[in-house]
Structure formats: structure tokens, C-alpha cells
Symmetry: D2
Subunit: 257 residues, 4 copies
């Protein structure tokens, strides 16, 4: 297969699915991987194919030993060299007081939020280094740049993720691999994650944010596409994304100064 | 005139000129403003027109009282509503010990690096607010995020610039104005600024940085174009840009940890 | 005179006055400088002397050409070598929309918030370098690390101040001068500044913050004293200070994550 | 026992041991916990007792399930309420390329660098909340604020640690618990860690840094003591510490600007 491959780890109906479709539309073969809901996955893959583009779906539990490594090996040998990967797994569990955050929860947050990214890079970068190029896009969150009440697990995982991205960039940018860390600093119109978390209140929540008040995953995918197309003389390592009407993470009450 | 207008303040042969040309190519009327070198300015304007696109050149000394204000008023009344502005004036004077940084130099750095941006926003935003939309792109530098030896004037100006951008964003994003602060964290292949500073050693310097080792202003302009096209549900306030082989500002000796 | 000298520029009844008294109590000669209110100044000086300690008061308008320079020269020649200086001048003008922030206001903010610090270092550091030691403490604010609505003037001045402190540190720490930037991230119980701003509502404001809910300037002075005593093998360049019950600048609504 | 208790987790001959001794000298009972080297531990405890102060030693492997929890319970029931704890466990393994960083190493880095701190807070904070006060000091590193080549494991652990500290602070500061994150941004004169890592070259390394060129753990302990004594109206959440002659993490080559 001669198409460049994009691997999306965490391919739901939000950012992941839209990035896969966006790259497929440009001639990539999109590999969509997610933990569960084979039917949902199949719908995303079919939508891409119906469009005349090219995609494969895989059910992968990234927290299983060897699962990420096997997936990378399989794609490289059966589908083609991975040109771009998107690490799109979250570790958000809503707000939990420390006493409501069991050890297991904290550990799982790290497994998905930080360790999985390390494992993906570990498995995927050697071939990219050999080819002298590759891109790793990482969806991240406000919690990567500041901790907050109720975010013990999420912030620890995301803070580790951000520092890991800087470490990967330091070693691998000079080898031709572009690592980009995207701080998604607002609610995304994603039925599989935010939608599931909010349930029946999802539509009311979106309405409460006003016009264009939540991030459209298609718009987010556009910025990911831009990042992946930057020539190596002008790479972005980090950018933030939020709706116009949202308060950025560094601002709170304007009165406080 | 029905074309949207982009105003580039600091339109030399580097980022400024390339952004003007990039937007003109997409159907904007580009207004290129710079302090001096009317011939160089004319060459940039002519190149855009030769391409079949639309541009105007203006000589403006941004440090003059009223100059920025007059320029904005003149463009709005004679050319058309400003859709996007790029503040591209620098305050870099090379490395100077504190004792070699006279009061006048420090003040001039602030006038160009910070005060001019305030004045541009002050003059231009009211009409944008009335129209409910507009974009202000700001070229910034490493010195906006960390001070360094020899950078007393430059870092003070750029640090003020960055905090001003956040303040402008906080007040005006909810009114539809997109403010984006671009941390250019590497050398730009710009004959009018870096080229003039380095003189005869410019080519040798670029060669020393290796292949794709300096930022190509056309590539930078591509990211500016992307920023200006982001729909308001997914705005970026800050991103960094550097060549693949450059060490990011937050890294120094890898041994230090 | 053989006592070490501390110069406090911006010596009101809040942080400035308390730092002066704290250092005087340890055997320093405190020079208290402020722009106006000679009576208030005299009260502070007298209180220190009544304690058996040593102090001088000076009325100085830091925004006047030459005023800072003359003050430094006069202290060095008439009182003694400046061991430690505290730059405690503010640029806070309350929250002002951009349209309510005239050019003059923005410039004055910079003159007090940033340029004055540059001038103090410019005038004072040569002698400190010759002596191989000295300390410059800088009171700073939340606006130095993040801009916000209504803070155009204040944040631009404070952001410049912070980057200037890093630049000064980079050149002068290796010459034995300790530069420390203190992010005061909360309201200070200071009658001359916050008190004047709030007027009749000052006491109600403090009560609304709860027990220990505003920064006690005596407690702040204790941390300044600690900074100034750190041996040069373990210097702090930046620390934050806020009341226990205050939300740090990087946190807003805990629900947002 | 009526003395307030300080628990030092990671009590070697460097920062940990010096903090224990410093607090003991002020009337605390110091509990020194470390993983191995019972003899070294005993020497530290004896030195404190010889001074007429009060201390207990414990061998604890913080990566064992239940070990931190048991230790906290035992101290609270057998020795006394923990007033202050210092989390001083490191995750530094020197510089390792990604390919030389096995999964196990990365996980262990997290267990010691991040998860252990979560477990300590989880076990210790409920009693502190009930008492309405307590202090958690956290020794951290440059890698908490920026990743770097070779630091994949260390930076991911420390970045998580920093965001966890902010999350703990957000929930527990308003309940009277002071969480302080100390960015140790330089080499510490610590025979048990840096000394062991450098072996025979330790003395030469220190000499190469010049006079006062490495952090003296006694000086560091002085700043920890200051942090723990701050009244709750003026708490510091984060400060940095480095030798005067060291380049701060945010600076590299002054030429680069």
C-alpha cells in the first residue's frame, strides 16, 4: 500500500474520528483504534470509505501489556509505514476529591494518560528515525498546564504527558520527528466522551455555552492537519485551542487582577 | 473596495512581506507599512501586484505620535475595513550588557515592542468590535517567555507584549476579535532584519544551521494564515515556531536534566 | 556609617514599610523612599527609630528624569553602600477597559512598573558588581504572569518587569547579585494602596475574605528577609505568596478541569 | 509525645537528612524514612540525638503496596500527629535515550516520582484536615517544569508531581494544609544521590562548579524551614533554588536571545 498511514489511538466520534477522516480525505490511509464499541468504530470506518477514502478499524485496549506494541508492529508490516500518529486517549474522570480517588483510579489515569504515550513512542519511533521523518500529535488538556481541585489523577497524568512530549521532542526533533502537544482548553462537541459524561444534559450544556461555544472536532482536526503539514524549518511544539467565548485557563475573575 | 484588508505593520522582506503576499494571494488587499526604505517597500508591493493580487505600501514611523492612529483611520476610510492586522515590529537590538543599554535604547525598545501594539489595538479595535470580528496577529520572540543576559531591553518589551496580548484577548475574544501571539523561537531567513544585523556573515550563519535550519518566512506565513482562518469555536492564542534542529528555549544542555 | 543599607523604593504602610522595619530590626539602616505624603513617610521613619533602629526618609518621584539616579548616588556617598534594594513601586490602576486606558496612562504604568526598575538597576548595580555582592528584591503581581481583562497597562508593565528581572539575573547572578522576583498573588492589607483604592469598603472587603484572608505585610516582609539571607549557593529567583483561602492565579472554576 | 512531628520520606545524607535535623533542632520529632542502608539511616538519627534532639528511623520501600500507608498510620498512632511531611524521593536515573528506557524503568520512575506522593497525601491528609492544619513539602526538580533529552522517565514523573501538587493545593489549602513545591534547579552536595551517581568524579565535579557552585543541603533546609513557618495568610506554593553561578533552566546560550 503506497498511501501514507495515520494511526489514531482513541478514535471516537470526536477529535479522533475527525482527524482520521481529515487525513483520509487528503490521501492518507487512516487506522482508527479504540478500546470498545466495535459498532461505533465500524460506523466511522464506513463513513470514511463511503467518501472514497481509505481506513481500517482496530479494537485495542491500550492498557493491556503488549497491545500498543502489537498494534504498531501489525500496522507497519500489514498496512504500511506510519507517517503520523495521533495519541488521543484521555484520562479524564470528572472531578473527584482526593478521598474519592482510589489508588487504582490514579494508576489507570497514568496508564492511559502518560504511560501509553511513552509505549507508543517507544514502539513507533525507531522505524520513524530510520526513515528520517514522522509526526506524533498529542491531544492534551488544560490539566497538563495547571492542576486543580478534583483533578488529582487527570492533572498528574497530563502533566506527565506534557513533560514527556518535551522530552521526546528534545531527543527526536533533531532526528526528523515532529512532536506536537495540543492543549485543548475547552469543551469539545464529542458525543463519545463529553456526551457520555453529561448524558441527557449534553444538549442543554452546549446550548448554555452560546453560539460557537464548544470546540467543533472538525475545526480541531483542521489545526491538527496544519501541524502535520508544517515543513521542518517551522515546527510548532505546542498550541492551545478554545472557543472565543471561553475564559482561557490562565484567567479567572477579572476583578482579581 | 470589497476585498478584506490585512494590515502588516513591519513589512520587510521576511515574515511581514510573506504574510502580506500570502493573504493577498487568498483575495485580501494587503497594506504593507514600514518605517523606511521606500524602494524595498515598493518592490514588495509590486511583486504582489505582478501576481495579479492587490496591495498598498505606506511609510510609517510607528514611534511617531499619532502615526499608527492616522494610518488606521486612513486605511479604514480610504481602503476598507481592516479584517486582520499583523503587528510585526521588533525591538531586537542584539545582545547588550546593562551598562551598554542606555535609557533611550530601553525606552525605544518599549515604544516599538509594546507601546505600538497597545496603540494599534486602541485605534483599531473599536471598529472591529462594532463589526463583531477581526484578527490581530502578533509576531513575538523567545524573549517574551524568558529573559536572558544582554536582553534587558528586548525581553522587557516582549514580556510586556505577551502580557498585553493576554489582556487584549481577555477583553476582546468574547467580542469576536482573535488575538494570536506567535513565539518565533529561532532565526528567520529575513534579509531586512537578521540579514542586516549579521551583514557579510549571514550566508555563513545560515549554512552553519544545516539543512532547513532557519525559519523560512513563507512557512511562518502559512501558520499565520492558518491562525487567521480558525473558526471562532477553535481559536489558538499562542503557538511556538522553530526549526526541527533548533533547541527549544526551555532546553539547554541535555546533560543538565 | 557601618550598617548595611537597605533601600526601599515605594515605602508605604504596606510591604515597603514593613520590609524597611524588618531589616532595620536586624541591624540595617533603612532608607525609605516614596513619592508623596511626607508626613506618612516621617511616621514610618519615626516608628523605626523609636524601636532603637536606624532609618532615613526621602521623597522621590521615580518617574522624574534623574531622580532614581540621584537618590542612589546620594545614598552611596552620604549614607553607605546599598546592600539590598526593594523595588516596591506599583503600576496598578484598577480595572480599565482598553477604551478607558489613555496612552498617557499606559505609558505611566510602564514608567513606574518597568522603566524605573531598569533605571534603579542601571544606577545601582555597577557598585554592587565592584563589591561582588548585593540583593535586588522586586515586588511583583499576578499580572506579571498572566494578562487579564482590564489589565492592559498593569500587565504590560508587570510582564516587562518579570522578563527584565530574568535578564538582570542572567547577567548579574554570576557577579554575586541576587535578583528575586516575588509574585504577590493576593490582596495585601496595605492602607496606602489597597486601602486608598477601596476607601470606605476596605474593612468590609477584608472581612469578606475571612480569617487570615489577606496578606499581612509583616508576613510578606518575613519572606523577603529570608530571600535576602539565602547564601549564594541556594538562591531563589521567584516565589509566589497568597493567603491560604485564595484561589491561585492558575486556577479558576474547579468544574472546568 | 507532645513534640510536633516531621516525616521525611527519602532521608539520605542530602536534603532529607538536613531537613530532619533542622526541624529537630527547632523542637520537632523527626521521623527519617528511607528504603535501604539501615546503617546510614542510624548515623543520621544518632547525629540528631547526640545534638539533644529527637528522631526515629524507619526503613520503608515506598514502592511496596501499603508501605506508605502503614508508615503514616504507625507514626500517627505511636509517635504523634504529623505536622509536616517532606516528600523527598527522587526518580532521577541519569540521562537515558528512549531506547535505553525500558517500560519497567519508566513505571518505577512514576511509582517513586508521582504515585508515592499521591499515596502519602491520600493517607496523611484526612487527619490533617481534621486538625485544620499541616504542611507538605515536596522536593522537585528542573524536570518538573521542562522535559529534556534523556529525561523521558524523570520528566514524566516530575511533571506529574508538579501538577499533582497544584491539584492537592487547590483542594487542601482552603482546609489549612500548606503544599509547597520546590524546584531544585541545580546540583546538590548530596553524597547519597549525586555522590553515588558520580562516584569517584564527585569531588572533581564539585570543584568544577567553583566556589559555592553546588547547593548546600543545609541551605536548602533553611528555605524548607522558612516555607513551613509561613503563616497561612502568606503561603508560597512554589519556589526555585539554584547556586548563583548556575544558569537557570529557562536560559541557555545568551547569544540566542
Amino acid at each position: 500500500m503506497s498511501k501514507p498511514v495515520i494511526l489514531v489511538l482513541g478514535a471516537g466520534a470526536g477529535i479522533g474520528g475527525h482527524v482520521a477522516a481529515r487525513f483520509a480525505r487528503e490521501g492518507y490511509h487512516a487506522v482508527l483504534a479504540r478500546r470498545s464499541d466495535g459498532e461505533g468504530l465500524q460506523r466511522l470506518v464506513s463513513a470514511i470509505k463511503t467518501n472514497g477514502d481509505s481506513a481500517t478499524g482496530m479494537l485495542v485496549d491500550a492498557s493491556d501489556d503488549g497491545a500498543i506494541e502489537d498494534m504498531v508492529a501489525r500496522i507497519e508490516s500489514e498496512i504500511g509505514p506510519i507517517d503520523t500518529a495521533l495519541y488521543n486517549l484521555g484520562a479524564q474522570i470528572g472531578n473527584r476529591a482526593l478521598s474519592d480517588t482510589p489508588h487504582r483510579t490514579f494508576e489507570l489515569g497514568w496508564r492511559l494518560g502518560c504511560y501509553g504515550l511513552f509505549r507508543l513512542a517507544h514502539a513507533m519511533f525507531p522505524a520513524m528515525v530510520e526513515r528520517g521523518k514522522g509526526t506524533l500529535l498529542v491531544t492534551s488538556a488544560t490539566a497538563a498546564v495547571r492542576g486543580n481541585a478534583g483533578q488529582h489523577s487527570h492533572a498528574a497524568a497530563m502533566g506527565g504527558r506534557r513533560m514527556l512530549c518535551q522530552s521526546l521532542n528534545a531527543e527526536f526533533a533533531p532526528k526528523g520527528i515532529h512532536v506536537a502537544h495540543v492543549v485543548v482548553d475547552g469543551a469539545v462537541n464529542a458525543p463519545d466522551t463529553l456526551g457520555r459524561m453529561l448524558g441527557d444534559t449534553f444538549e442543554a450544556y452546549k446550548a448554555s455555552k452560546g453560539e460557537d461555544g464548544v470546540l467543533d472536532p472538525a475545526a480541531v482536526a483542521e489545526s491538527y492537519w496544519h501541524l502535520a503539514q508544517q515543513p521542518r524549518n517551522a515546527w510548532t511544539h505546542e498550541l492551545d485551542l478554545r472557543p472565543w467565548s471561553d475564559v482561557p485557563w490562565w484567567n479567572d475573575n477579572p476583578v482579581a487582577g
